[in-house]
Symmetry: C2
Subunit: 400 residues, 2 copies
């Protein structure tokens, strides 16, 4: 495996001008904290619209549910994929129209469906008969998206095992929905941080077949949700977004050339991941008795106060440090808690400067997604991750 | 593997009278929530004191840092093992004397050591030279416990990989501490939820040797911290606490008969685990395309809103359900979020009644430790786990 080295702070695409200014001006602010550049979100939104002009964007709120993020996306025309009553309430409180919300979680309490429908939400996703029946009962006349399963191959954080039904079950659910007077669409998700731009090809071929079959029965879908999966910039390189756009447009043309419904995408990580930088401090550097080679570097952030996605070393953040980058050595990166599960990277092959010192600042890049809201309330007595939001608008500087 | 079945609510030792009353009287309270019986904590404290009369109890606050729990333990004479500045502040705010706090986390910011010392905390644990130097600088004249490594065998949640130094390193740290004018002790931790009562034997033999060697150099330890590891009642049976007491007392007599210092224990899970019951609701039951046999049962609590310790299916909670317990079938238990990592038990072989229905209440027993404070702040828009504290004192009923 290629060693994963510290990157120079000046080489870091995630360190936008507003973020760099904030960090420079707040060098005494206690760590850990997240600085988040709202302009990056807008930039990513426009890049996605450009790559897939036919697709309506539903931002997956769970990726970063901060009001600042939702408000910015609202202001540039995004719609929103919500996972819970809590996320619906937050969006509505910001003045977002319920017609722009899709309740995409396939696991919903019946009373939460009723609440959503009362509020004006009319788009729901299901992957099981019992869930469909809840929607039929509580949200009559709504649009139901039936989620089909994919195998998640190529994704760093697959979403396959728990979600989606097979194609014959999907057909049965569509028939039941149509019989109950509901509009319907199909959806699938190729997994989060999907690094293979061809991952949409097979599901789109399957979905195209299914839609033709249903059309033969007189059932016409009103929409197709391509899910998310578009990547942030972690250690492993990812294709340009344009390559995703090209591949997906080609698959759509090949398999769904005659589809007249709406096309949706559900990005989360892609819109917010690269917008955030977590500033941390080295608490301790030591040698462990069972590992002569690697230093253990303990940061003041760990798996349970923001870095949940380091679970199984699935998501490997780029790390920025001070020090002599020409002279690096292997490290294990761990969190500050008394829990031995709180080890971030042991096998991933990270290397950091040999002159790294206790008290040095360490920056975790592209940490704007699935961090702050995943932080625990008071694990080991550590406060949840604090967040600061910056933007060039406030300072007259062009970001990113 | 023996199938793990639903237990009858009446057979459930975790369901004390005050908890049962609370649940009966609050059947319409929205789930999920935790009900916690403070009398169980007091009972467990006294049981531990009885099993190990020579040992001073330092409750590991991280296991459940609720003020109600801390106040009850304070009132019956417990001391406290704290992991962070936040935990120290909470204890002091409750009026707990700083002399009864031990700062047991081996990964501490230097300024947090200084803060603790200013507040009157004078007991610190270290397992590395750099950490010792921080304590020497910031807390002169304090007592330093040097933590030695164990292999964690027999523990469901081992604590070995990240913590502790080997015996020769421990000797070096002790010499350095003594040279700097610090008192010293030794500590080790056999892992959390340790099911082998003999797990203390080997570390105590090693520590006994080390203490004799140090005595030969004129260095006398003031204390020995036996850590925690005492179990809660999950699916896998555990020995009675008395058996731990017998085994540990025997090992102490064999290897440390001449030890004149203080003996400490650091229980967390043991004191609070059995005191809590989490009440949840079945949100969805479905069949997954790739698994014909097991139903998937989705609860309204998952790995990220309280059940962190289901990670890798390490801690297997007992589950209480209504329904026909004579007719059970295999299930996968999963959480309510859009994250496919949010699966609780897939391999553990849980079985639940075939007539279990969406909307049924499901009780997770012995969930008083490492749940509420590990809950994330707003994962998928779900609120942190709510907690209610009950006690027979309020109701004139004898608990447990």
């Amino acid at each position: 495996m290629q060693p994963v080295g510290a990157v120079g702070l000046d080489e870091v695409t995630g360190l936008t001008t507003p973020i760099a200014r904030f960090l420079d001006g707040n060098s005494h602010l206690p760590t850990p904290f997240l600085v988040f550049d709202l302009d990056v979100v807008a930039l990513r939104y426009h890049q996605l619209r450009e790559a897939l002009p036919m697709a309506k964007v539903f931002y997956a709120v769970k990726a970063n549910p901060a009001e600042e993020v939702l408000a910015r996306l609202d202001s540039i025309g995004s719609s929103f994929d919500v996972a819970s009553r809590g996320e619906i309430e937050r969006c509505l409180n910001l003045g977002i129209d319920p017609s722009r919300l899709a309740y995409g979680n396939t696991i919903k309490k019946e009373r939460d469906i009723a609440f959503a429908f009362e509020q004006g939400v009319t788009t729901f996703t299901v992957d099981a008969e019992a869930e469909l029946e809840k929607v039929v009962r509580q949200a009559p006349g709504s649009t139901v998206y039936v989620r089909t399963a994919t195998d998640g191959t190529g994704a760093d954080w697959p979403l396959s095992r728990k979600f989606g039904c097979d194609l014959s079950e999907a057909a049965a659910l569509v028939r039941r929905a149509a019989w109950a007077g509901m509009s319907f669409g199909l959806s699938f998700h190729v997994g989060s941080q999907q690094r293979d731009v061809q991952a949409w090809e097979r599901p789109l071929a399957d979905v195209g077949d299914l839609l033709r079959q249903l059309r033969g029965e007189g059932l016409e879908a009103v929409g197709l949700n391509l899910g998310g999966g578009f990547p942030s910039h972690y250690v492993d390189p990812v294709p340009e977004l344009a390559a995703y756009g090209t591949a997906i447009r080609r698959s759509l043309a090949a398999h769904l050339g005659d589809f007249g419904g709406e096309v949706l995408v559900e990005p989360g990580r892609y819109l917010v991941g690269d917008a955030g930088v977590i500033e941390t401090e080295v608490v301790l550097i030591s040698r462990r008795p069972d590992n002569d080679e690697a230093r253990w570097v303990y940061l003041d952030i760990g798996m349970f106060n923001g870095l949940t996605e380091t679970l199984d070393e699935s998501i490997r953040y780029r790390v920025g440090t001070p020090g002599d980058r020409a002279n690096q050595g292997p490290v294990v990166l761990a969190g500050p808690s008394c829990d031995s599960a709180d080890v971030l990277y042991e096998k991933a092959g990270y290397q950091l400067p040999l002159d790294l010192r206790i008290g040095d600042r360490v920056r975790l890049l592209s940490t704007g997604a699935y961090t702050s809201s995943y932080s625990s309330v008071w694990f080991n007595g550590f406060e949840p991750l604090r967040c600061f939001f910056v933007s060039a608008e406030d300072q007259g500087v062009v970001a990113a």
